[in-house]
Amino acid sequence: MQIDLTTFILELINFAVLVWILNHFLYKPVQGIMARRRAKIEKMVQEAEAQKAEAGLLRDQYESRVRNWEREQATAHAALTKELAVTRENGLDDVRQAVEKEKQRLEVAEAKKQADRQREIERRALTQAVAFAGKFLQRLADPELDIKLAEVLIQDIETWPAEKIETLAKAVAEREGEITVTSARALTPSVQKSLEKKLSVKLGQKCKMNFSVDDTLITGLRLTVGPWVLQANAKDELAFFAGKPEHDN
């Protein structure tokens, strides 16, 4: 157990050299690579944190945008619902109005149809009544009734208004006093003379009477002066009641 000075000194140098060797070939390269890796990891961590922050920002923006979208969607939905309600209400009003119009139109059509039907029924009833009355009068008609009707006509001539008499006189004058008298049966001469005399006096001119027979008149007579027709018979009266405008009397 003694110290060799040469060994002691050489070991001092050896260890100093070893420190340099290890520092140069071991510590520096390994510490360098570790420092670079640490820096790289720190950089990655910083980048990750930056990305995380950016992602958080984007997430906030996205959430804000989603909230805005939801608000806009709710507003649009409310507006659309309101518009749909208004449109539906307008549509319903239109439909109601159309239904009401259609209803009124149908009511009018139905009323018209009812009136037509009523008129048709009345017409048929009148036609039947006229036919019945015609057949009934055919059974009652006789020369005496013809004479009575002629007398009634003669009496009615007295009550004609002046304008009618004047117009009739003008028409008779244009045909040189010619008046056609049609009866259901031949009139008696006395009746013919009474009628001629009455007309001549009333019209103020000589009347030329042409008497003829038409058994379709049932009973009574008809005076024809050009376009003028004076009716005093059952056929024309029944036709008047049936609604045929053939009576100018």
């Binding site: 060994t7 070991e11 050896n14 070893l18 060797i21 290890l22 071991l26 510590y27």
Partner: protein, 228 residues
């Protein structure tokens, strides 16, 4: 205790087996370091690189635990102490070789280096005047005790490592002579443990002494600032 044999002479200098073993260890460590650190990868470290990084990280962490923020200039010295002493201690297990740490000349050299590094790092931290002032603290009367303490702990460092490793080798040799071929195996396992423990103790004590030198300056400085 046998004399350390001189292997050859280099001029007037007698080169002992301790120096040869030291050179061999230095060569091996240098070669291994050079070859292992040629192709370091940042992204895909291999098994060797991972082992090296683990070793260097462990050294850095130990230094940082003791002296936070001063790993940069303490790691080369303390790390080299640990690595060299571990390898040197374990060399004794190989048949035909002996641990260079079983030579008092080498352990004394290492202890002197620690002694010098304590003062070097202390002076570097706060200057020569400031460093020397701490020997007068807390009282100038304690100056001789500081001096004795410096030398005694250096001597203890050298003798502790030398005594443990030399005695282990001697014990293994005696057991081998007395008991036979396979009996010393448990002792060899003890040798491995002892080699690691002694290396750790030596390096850690060196670190503690250096830290004490630096921190004593800081304490002195803080006290001066407080009184002013």
């Amino acid at each position: 205790m046998s004399e350390i044999a001189i292997v050859f002479h280099l001029g007037p200098l007698g080169i002992t087996s301790t120096i040869v073993m030291s050179w061999a260890i230095m060569l091996m460590l240098g070669l291994v370091s050079f070859l292992a650190t040629r192709r370091l990868s940042e992204n895909n470290p291999g098994m060797i690189q991972a082992t090296l990084e683990a070793v260097v990280s462990a050294i850095e962490d130990s230094v940082n635990d003791m002296m936070p923020g001063r790993a940069g200039f303490l790691v080369p010295f303390i790390g080299s102490l640990w690595i060299f002493i571990v390898v040197a201690n374990l060399t004794g297990i190989i048949p035909g070789l002996h641990s260079p740490t079983g030579d008092l000349s080498l352990t004394a050299a290492l202890a002197v280096l620690v002694f010098l590094s304590v003062h070097w790092y202390g002076i570097r931290a706060d200057g020569l005047r400031g460093y020397l002032q701490h020997y007068m603290r807390p009282s100038p009367l304690l100056f001789p005790f500081h001096i004795v303490s410096e030398f005694s702990r250096t001597l203890a460092l050298a003798v502790r490592l030398f005594g443990n490793m030399a005695s282990l080798e001697m014990a293994a040799l005696l057991v081998l002579i007395v008991a036979g071929f396979l009996v010393p195996i448990p002792l060899l396992l003890l040798h491995v443990v002892e080699a690691l423990v002694q290396a750790y103790i030596f390096g850690m004590l060196a670190l503690v002494y250096i830290a004490g030198g630096i921190q004593s300056q800081q304490n002195t400085k803080e006290r001066t600032e407080e009184t002013s």
